[in-house]
Symmetry: C2
Amino acid sequence: MGVDPLREIEDPSDLRRLPREALPGVAAALREELVSVGAEVGGHFAGSLGAVELTVGLHWVFDTPRDRIVWDVGHQTYGHKALTGRREGLRRIKRADGPSGFLRRVESPHDVFGAGHAGTSISAALGLAEAARRLGEPRRVVAVIGDGGATAGMAFEALNHAGHLGSDVRVVWNDNGMAIAPNVGGLARTGDVAGLVRALGLAYRGPVDGHDLSALVPALQQLRDASGPSLLHVRTRKGCGYPPAEADPFGWHATGPFEVAGGTRGGGAGAPSWTVAFADALARIADRDPRVVAITAAMPDGTGLDRFARRHPKRVYDVGIAEQHGVTFAAGLAAEGLRPVCAIYSTFLQRAFDQIVHDVALQDLPVTFALDRAGLVGGDGPTHHGVFDLAYLRAIPGLVVAAPRDENELQHLLATAVDCGRPFALRFPRGAAPGAALDPEPKPLPLGRGERLRAGSDAAIVALGKAVDVAREAADRLACRGISVAVVDARYAKPLDHELLWDVAEASRLVVTVEDHVRAGGFGSAVLECLEPRRRNLRVRCLGIGDRFVDHGDAAEQWRAEGMDVDAVVRSVEEGLG
Amino acid sequence: MGVDPLREIEDPSDLRRLPREALPGVAAALREELVSVGAEVGGHFAGSLGAVELTVGLHWVFDTPRDRIVWDVGHQTYGHKALTGRREGLRRIKRADGPSGFLRRVESPHDVFGAGHAGTSISAALGLAEAARRLGEPRRVVAVIGDGGATAGMAFEALNHAGHLGSDVRVVWNDNGMAIAPNVGGLARTGDVAGLVRALGLAYRGPVDGHDLSALVPALQQLRDASGPSLLHVRTRKGCGYPPAEADPFGWHATGPFEVAGGTRGGGAGAPSWTVAFADALARIADRDPRVVAITAAMPDGTGLDRFARRHPKRVYDVGIAEQHGVTFAAGLAAEGLRPVCAIYSTFLQRAFDQIVHDVALQDLPVTFALDRAGLVGGDGPTHHGVFDLAYLRAIPGLVVAAPRDENELQHLLATAVDCGRPFALRFPRGAAPGAALDPEPKPLPLGRGERLRAGSDAAIVALGKAVDVAREAADRLACRGISVAVVDARYAKPLDHELLWDVAEASRLVVTVEDHVRAGGFGSAVLECLEPRRRNLRVRCLGIGDRFVDHGDAAEQWRAEGMDVDAVVRSVEEGLG
């Protein structure tokens, strides 16, 4: 290819000026660009490669952004970003100075509806289509959803509503047989997308080869010209065009930088992650307790359950991107005496809030929730921060809510959760764990008891989870300045260790709380509630995330900006005392 | 019918001792009993009438409770209760001294999985079935779900997972064409349950007439003897056997007491409800603002949107029991400039928590949430109390959260919500509104401003929503005892009126908060957060619901038991000052 055809495409309107014969060349160049970007900075990779022709075809056939393309999740939209003026930015993707790894309305008029969680696109598109009808706008609206994303119940709800309304809404069903991991579900077994779609009252077209633009473009044109709710079934290969990713699309769903030739990747050296610590602790607990089974909502890798499954292959359920079902399914298992552990990211467990209340906690069933990626997650940004869980969970009667400060506390808290026979949520953050030495066996800890890690007479810092290390470092630094500060690892956000907190509060004039969570209704708020009845001459300062969605960027920088880092804790103690 | 055959049935095992020929007689007697109970005490009526033969057939064919019947929602289970030892109790249903109106594990070994929200039964049944397989128990598990309940996405998630696992789980699809109101959805249009079910990998049987025991019993026996995931499609008529209910199954979904002959009902005299006040206010706002559309998740009656639709028939969407989709659909409408109002009970909006965060608030879209039945709801009990919304909503950045003290404030807050262009949640309780006079026009109020209703120098009571009246009455009573108490209607839980609260706090030694919500993370907790930075010599006492699920019973009694009534507020002020 002599000239780079992407250079001429600032905007999809430039693409649409090209003849149809030029599209394969554009697709090839786009694929090359995505491989080059992936090799340089990593990111969500295999999904975008599989959607290259689809992306080119959609922007060529539809009059974007006047016509609305609603992408699901965003894992497959690097090509879309490149064709909509963000090609250069892709090399800074997920950095504070670069574009989001997902879709954001504020980023581009081409991101007509934001995403980051799966399964929302058909609902949003139906809303856009109904609005267009009401407003008399002749625009077309297309949702692009993967077969993985479509395991989410809300996608079914949306298809069913579309079939009811009869609106002119279009759906492209991007069927690559995968969620992040190979897709699950009866539908994935039968492959009868047509049967499902027709039963719900939509017109079905396809399947069409999503890498053959000579078939895909006419199919998209037919979809464009259809009226009523219509679905086009497109078959693609995740990772298409980059042989290592085609051979292992699961492994290449997301990647760090790599060498293009051969696909050699840096590998995950460095400190073990919280995820691995969780998986290994769960495996040890399951070794001795046959009641333990584990549940993932289509994220066996992200949650560490693939690692757990190496030791206990018959004790993992992948329910699909179906957090609601997963939680109630777990409640059913627990009702018969098993001890299910739902390993779901904090942000995705939001999907199952009602099921936690109605099916688990109200029935006091022993389900453990392992909330990975709790707190600020850095580059994945606001769709993925797990910063509401303490608020939404601690309101639920009887639920235990805990967070470990290191891997050793993690294994003991997980044993506590499985042993205690109560609904139990355990949150831990993204990334590297501190590297604590492990006791030989996970052992249950007393429920609702925190730990005073150091004594102090001037003030006390009460922290939870990852924030405990911040508290310790702040106390060290304050000690050098002659300020004596106690440090408490609360361990539980609920039930709080009232005795310990009262002890600490009575011994000092100032309590500072630190948490990796929004302040509204969070851990600090729980400490305020706890101390209120008995406090005298006490000040309390609560550090945590303010009332805003935190953008993507570096996690340490996010902690600093939100006033939760060591400097902020030191400052808060000094100001509180001064 | 000479002898009452129900008298001999203490338990389903007694039923199973009867010959098959006796079942129609049992069904007739059961129906007569349900009509008699309904006439005497009201309750969920038409659904249970439609499930009489199904209930008799299931308990005769399956070895309950060793075999597990998992009923969805519970609206159809009065017959099940009567056959499982709770016949006499039905006359006290929903009262504190009677059985729940729904299903509760603690109430009977026959309630193998609790319910109250729709769509959970297949998930739970799949969990029970997998547990049986793991434990080597030969029991059978049957979920009984209505076609209305099956519009919930989690039911689809569960069917899809069942088709994947291939477990021996059985589903009875009780198809009466209704949710509470006539059912919606493309599937309801096509009627192709077989196509849907087979696409998801389950065996389909039926349809069978669910009122003809000679056809139903053999079909249930075949279902019992099936292996792998199987679904039996049963057609029933909601209200069957009681002509007024058959003629108007929507109107007779739930009822108060009535006269059996002719079906004359007492009618809803008395004070207008919050629901009516909401519907009328919304209609007035929609008169002048063409952007307003309304969304219900299968509850046009309960939310008042049927009333709204009389004035604006083309501006209501019933999305089915699909709160997740409904909220994201609303976000799509809002993204194009409309002003959707989602009218969803507080407890059911829990289903859409993630969509509020991810699709509405993160994108700062102007969707209004009208949360009816917020707070303690009385007879419907713990599955239906709306007592977590302040906690789960106020954690969400940028969301406005408000609650009116009367109908007039309701209309103004609703106008504020629609006008302000921000995500906005408005909660109001079940039942009769105070009967306040209405200003001629709904007018937007300033955002985040409360109202000082009376001045006072000794203490201040800060209350939200329905609790404001409690606060005023308590202040009156305290005034008689020489204690001068300010009363503040906070109006907003978020953003709080910091200035007003600080003013009030500086003027008094004691602040008492009152709310119709759990204390953990609720309104009082928000007040604590607000006052903390500037407080001096101040005590704060937060009244609200403790860390427990509140049983069904009388709402006023629930307020008393939770320490939120006038007596409790008076006591709290006196103790706090003393």
